[in-house]
């Protein structure tokens, strides 16, 4: 077939197009197959960017969901001094919006540019308004960096519990440190695809970011606030070196408040050594000699291990006790004989030592351990102290320990021990964390610790009654609550002066107690370390009122029903002696010699299972007199009738129904002694 010139031209054109296509195809094959990896890398550099996705630190909430510590994402401003066209204009412009000094900034920019530096922080953590104003300037030499900052919306509230973070947002103290691994998430990696104008149009998650866990504490910020407020007031009055308040839920041992003084604001940086000292969590890390509050442990153990009962009469030797050649004197004149209940109420040192003797050193040591002393409670706060409980006691250690010396405890340990009495003899370690939860995961509830029985329930109840006596007519009268029954024990321990190797004139004033007595809801331990001596420094005087205020507020916040009428007023024993100073003069070295002699004397008459029972101060349980009936709940008429039947004389106070009595039911009283019965409507 004859081809026309047109067809020839078309054919030629097609061949050329085919060749062109073939060349393109070959080029494509070369680029996309043989040069694939190289070109992909080059392309990635141009339009793909790797970015680290920072995750915020977990939030710390109180038990009601109130944030106590939360991370806030804010922007910081920096400039590239080399790109700043005019340092003076730039400084004026930036200082007009930010809180920076114009002259100082100008000098910084100039100096950095002079040193050929390409980066200078102008201000960290600017507000959103400042950020928007700066962005609206649209200047390419102003750069923004997103940074995270820990914020504490309630200021210093629960500062020691929460703790602080450092500049890298890592835990430094408190829960921030101990729970750092939970609070800190894991940053993610993300691949961003950008267009030539650096606008992101695609992203691919290469490694998912894992956010930090939010932690819900057992702390109630309202109770915590009251505890801190009242502690500050007490500090103002008593001028202690340090102080602390621990509030526990009596049933669960959950820490409702843990306050220390001195305190600090976690948002403020450390400027000097006093700032640093203020960050010490005294209640957890600083053990001290507890003094008379420890008599609760002594008496509880004695009730558990001996045949002593609250009504048992303890000879208090008119305030002078001889241990071999050593003489121990009562701090406040002394008593002849006291019932065991009164030994606690009046905080008799000699009475407590007598009871400890009756119990025996082995039993005493074992029960001190059972109450959790000498061991960390396991509260999840850093640097918890185990306190000091020596494995081997010296000869007079039993006497010292009976009244809260030669042993060092923390406020948290004391609260745990007091909770044993409040919680029917069961020891529960203090609990600070309710749950941990990541935003997209179910909550992880903290398992409750295994409870351990320390006292029989009836002994715990008896101890509660005895401790109520301390508040009603003993050294703890200033801790008495309105509308609620309360029990507790005061303590005033002389502080050992390391310089002079003797007990000085400074006191540790403490109060530990619970309320209400019938069904305790809270346990509170108040400690003021280093109060100035004298009557103004006694535990009942300085710590009792703190207990009263904190307990009143906590019971109201927790909606605990009242168990006393508002107008109930026990006006007996108005002039009660508040002196509960425990003897600190038991020198261990001399005591050792003395007790070795005393022990040899005591061996002959030592009852089975008892380490010491010193002859001259042997305790007699026998008292002649009628047994006191239980008048509580009776009308005045019934009380009088019942008293007549029992052969006891009564002194009635108030009107209505009998609410309280002293001595307690079941005690034997001498015929000449009156039973005081408090009535109220």
């Amino acid at each position: 077939m004859h081809e026309t010139p047109e067809i020839k031209r078309v054919r030629l054109l097609m061949r050329m197009a085919l060749l062109w296509a073939a060349i393109i195809f070959a080029r494509l094959v070369y680029l996309q197959v043989f040069q694939h990896s190289t070109l992909k890398h080059v392309a990635d550099l141009q339009h793909a960017h790797q970015m680290t996705v920072e995750v915020p630190r977990g939030t710390i909430f109180d038990r009601n969901g109130v944030p106590l510590a939360k991370s806030e994402t804010l922007e910081s401003v920096c400039v590239n001094p080399r790109r700043v066209p005019d340092a003076e204009v730039a400084a004026d412009m930036l200082s007009g919006i930010l809180d920076v000094d114009s002259k100082a900034l100008r000098a910084k920019i100039a100096d950095t540019a002079k040193d050929d530096g390409g980066f200078l922080w102008v201000q960290r953590f600017i507000s959103r308004e400042q950020s928007e104003r700066l962005r609206s300037l649209n200047l390419d030499w102003i750069e923004f960096r997103t940074e995270s900052r820990r914020v504490h919306p309630n200021g210093q509230l629960a500062a020691h519990v929460i703790g602080t973070v450092n500049s890298e947002q890592k835990g430094d103290s408190g829960l921030e440190l101990s729970m750092n691994s939970d609070l800190t998430g894991m940053p993610g990696e993300i691949r961003l695809e950008t267009d030539p104008k650096r606008r992101v149009f695609g992203s691919e998650v290469e490694r998912s970011a894992i956010p930090g866990k939010d932690i819900t504490l057992t702390i109630d910020s309202r109770i915590q606030y009251v505890a801190e407020r009242e502690l500050a007031l007490a500090v103002e009055n008593a001028h202690p070196r340090t102080a602390s308040v621990v509030v526990l839920d009596a049933k669960t041992a959950e820490v409702l408040a843990l306050a220390n003084w001195p305190t600090f604001n976690p948002d403020d940086p450390v400027r000097n050594s006093s700032d640093l000292a203020a960050r010490n969590d005294v209640a957890v890390t600083s053990p001290y000699e507890p003094g008379s509050v420890f008599k609760v442990v002594t008496l509880s153990s004695a009730l558990e291990t001996t045949d002593l009962r609250p009504e048992s009469i303890i000879p208090c030797m008119n305030g002078v006790l001889r241990l071999g050649r050593r003489v121990i004197r009562e701090a406040h004149g002394g008593y002849g004989k006291l019932s065991l209940a009164d030994v606690l109420a009046k905080s008799s040192n000699i009475g407590a030592i007598q009871i400890a003797m009756r119990m025996g050193q082995d039993n005493q040591h074992a029960y001190v351990e059972k109450f959790g002393f000498g061991q960390a409670t396991g509260i999840p706060l850093p640097s918890e102290s185990r306190g000091t409980l020596r494995k081997k006691w010296q000869a007079t250690s039993f006497a010292s320990v009976a009244i809260g010396h030669e042993i060092a405890v923390t406020a948290v340990q004391l609260a745990q021990a007091c909770d044993v009495v409040a919680n029917n003899g069961v020891l529960l370690p203090p609990r600070l964390i309710i749950k941990k939860q990541r935003s997209d995961e179910p909550p992880e509830y903290e398992p409750a610790a295994r409870p351990r029985t320390v006292l029989r329930p009836e002994i715990a109840i008896t101890m509660r009654q005895l401790m109520e006596g301390v508040v009603l007519h003993g050294t703890g009268r200033r801790a008495r609550l309105t509308g609620y029954t309360a029990g507790g024990k005061t303590g005033t321990a002389q502080i050992f002066d390391r310089a002079t190797h003797s007990y000085g004139r400074y006191y540790n004033g403490s109060f530990m107690g619970f309320a209400p007595v019938g069904n305790p809801a809270i346990v509170i331990v108040v400690t003021l370390n280093g109060t100035t001596g004298g009557a103004a420094g006694y535990g009942g005087v300085v710590a009792g009122p703190v207990f009263k205020q904190v307990a009143t507020a906590a019971l109201r916040i927790l909606d605990v029903p009242r168990d006393l009428p508002d107008d109930f007023k026990d006006d007996s024993n108005e002039n009660v002696d508040m002196n509960d100073l425990s003897i600190a003069g038991l020198d261990p070295t001399t005591g050792s010699e003395l007790m070795s002699q005393t022990q040899s004397l005591a061996q002959a008459s030592k009852p089975p299972g008892q380490a010491f029972f010193v002859g001259p101060v042997a305790v007699s349980n026998v008292v002649v007199g009628p047994k006191v009936p239980d008048f509580r709940g009776m009308s005045m008429r019934d009380v009088i009738l019942r008293a007549g039947e029992a052969g006891v004389s009564v002194e009635t106070i108030g009107h209505g129904i009998a609410r309280a009595q002293s001595p307690l039911p079941g005690m034997m009283v001498p015929a000449e002694e009156q039973v005081k019965v408090q009535f109220s409507r």
């Binding site: 009601n64 959103r128 509230l157 606008r199 695609g202 992203s203 910020s221 009242r562």
Partner: protein, 159 residues
């Protein structure tokens, strides 16, 4: 078929130039320059009357033409179909990134508001306000709890 010149003249509306008589040129062979190429060619407009031309029917060409158009359409549609998802994806990508930025901004704002709320509800501030307004502590069991919204952190939330 119209030449380029015809089209040009039609557009500009130029009239057909009258035929110009070529003047007799007396050429002095001795002094004359060599003629430039095509010097003797003159362009002129030639009227062609196509009114009597009848287009011959060519169904094959018509079919080819339509086939070409349809093929081209299909090719374009295919090409657009191929490119459209990518373009849509790109546009959606921009939108997603914008929304993500908005979401992050809103989350930051929410966190800031929560902090503000916590600051406003701090016990210290509430007590300060209460003292300023000479409030006194309510008696126990005289507190009325308000119904709270789910997730509210107001302090009077009944547990």
């Amino acid at each position: 078929m119209a030449s380029l010149a015809t089209v040009y003249n039609r557009i500009l509306g130029a009239k057909v130039a009258p035929e110009i008589e070529t003047p007799a040129v007396v050429v002095d062979q001795a002094d004359s320059l060599r003629a430039i190429p095509n010097e003797d060619i003159y362009l002129f407009v030639k009227d062609i009357d196509n009114s009597r031309v009848i287009r011959q029917a060519d169904p094959k060409a018509r079919i080819d033409c339509w086939r070409m158009i349809v093929s081209g359409g299909i090719a374009v549609t295919f090409l657009v179909g191929m490119l459209l998802p990518g373009a849509a994806s790109r546009i959606a990508g921009y939108q997603i990134q914008t929304l993500k930025q908005d979401q992050q901004k809103l989350l930051n704002d929410k966190a800031a508001l929560e902090l503000d709320e916590a600051r406003l509800l701090s016990p210290a501030r509430l007590e300060q306000l209460a003292k300023r307004q000479q409030f006194i502590d309510p008696a126990p069991q005289k507190i009325i709890y308000l119904d709270a919204k789910p997730g509210a952190i107001a302090l009077n939330v009944k547990k």
